[in-house]
Symmetry: C2
Subunit: 204 residues, 2 copies
Amino acid sequence: MKTVDPRPIEFYFDFSSPYAYLTSTWMNELAEKYGRQVIWRPIMLGVVFQETGMRPLFHQPLRGPYGERDFLRTARLLGRQAVVPKEFPYVSLAVSRAFYWLEDHHNEVIFDFAHAVFARYFEDGIAPTTHEDVARLAIQVGVDPDKLIEGCQDPQVKARLKDETAQAIEKGVFGAPFIIVDAEPFWGNDRKDQIEEWLKTGGW
Amino acid sequence: MKTVDPRPIEFYFDFSSPYAYLTSTWMNELAEKYGRQVIWRPIMLGVVFQETGMRPLFHQPLRGPYGERDFLRTARLLGRQAVVPKEFPYVSLAVSRAFYWLEDHHNEVIFDFAHAVFARYFEDGIAPTTHEDVARLAIQVGVDPDKLIEGCQDPQVKARLKDETAQAIEKGVFGAPFIIVDAEPFWGNDRKDQIEEWLKTGGW
């Protein structure tokens, strides 16, 4: 019988990160296979990039066009009909704050909410940035939209997102998706196989 | 019965690229499995980086330390005891020129030579930059060292390396390893599984 390992896997991401979207489609399922839980941590990647001097993938010369192709190709392999949104990246402040408010008040819907946010952007191509967008997502996961919008404006929730981003930087997170398994850092959707190997063997 | 596909796979790399070293350990074997041949193309990644504004991986803030860890971890998974050379990156001009001279004059040793170059740097930790280094590698693969050193100074060989680098940039190569399979570009050692899928299925 599998026992749940007490140490949860940490999954850091920005809701506007293409490869984090891909990782979000398999992360929990993979963890469950090895009796592990996952803590999802949306952060503001723009703040992280200020530290590292990196730029959003699709904006990089030459790498940009390749990145779009690679992203869509990898999504197809995962069975997803993804799109490259016209507005890229977007400021995911509202939905990230909403996530943390939900974590405290409606913990049972946080994964549904996160999946809905990712799908809105990377499947419908629409950046959820306004109160109306947040309200729509709230209804989708069965939460009172007015309460969620109000929650996003709570100073504690705003501070929470800042703190989580700062703590992520302290832990060495410099991009997304960034997954920490028992103190071992993995960067990128393409580390899925290594993460599974680590979960299986405890390291090599 | 497998027939050899007329279109060879193109494998672009700089001899100083850590992940290209990893790819060099499986590239030919994977191609052979699908009846395909590989053209190896050393290029000067420094020239490419001037176009893209990128920096050598291990020099990037935060990403650098992670990159070293990820490189060594991935090498171990491939059964290689790699090292992070103290001198990183190095100017791989001499060995790249030697490769192209050998391609024209001792085609039968080019893969042995390339493996020896990669091993010298990523297993012994020594950057092969001098005539003595090239001579040593020549002896290792059974080629007259004086002839190889002389060959490296041939203006045609020097021009060849420049041309190959320029042509690679024209084809969209912006990093290493960079693998082109039937016009489909793949960047990075971590695209091995996708390359295999492409070879197996012809694309998706």
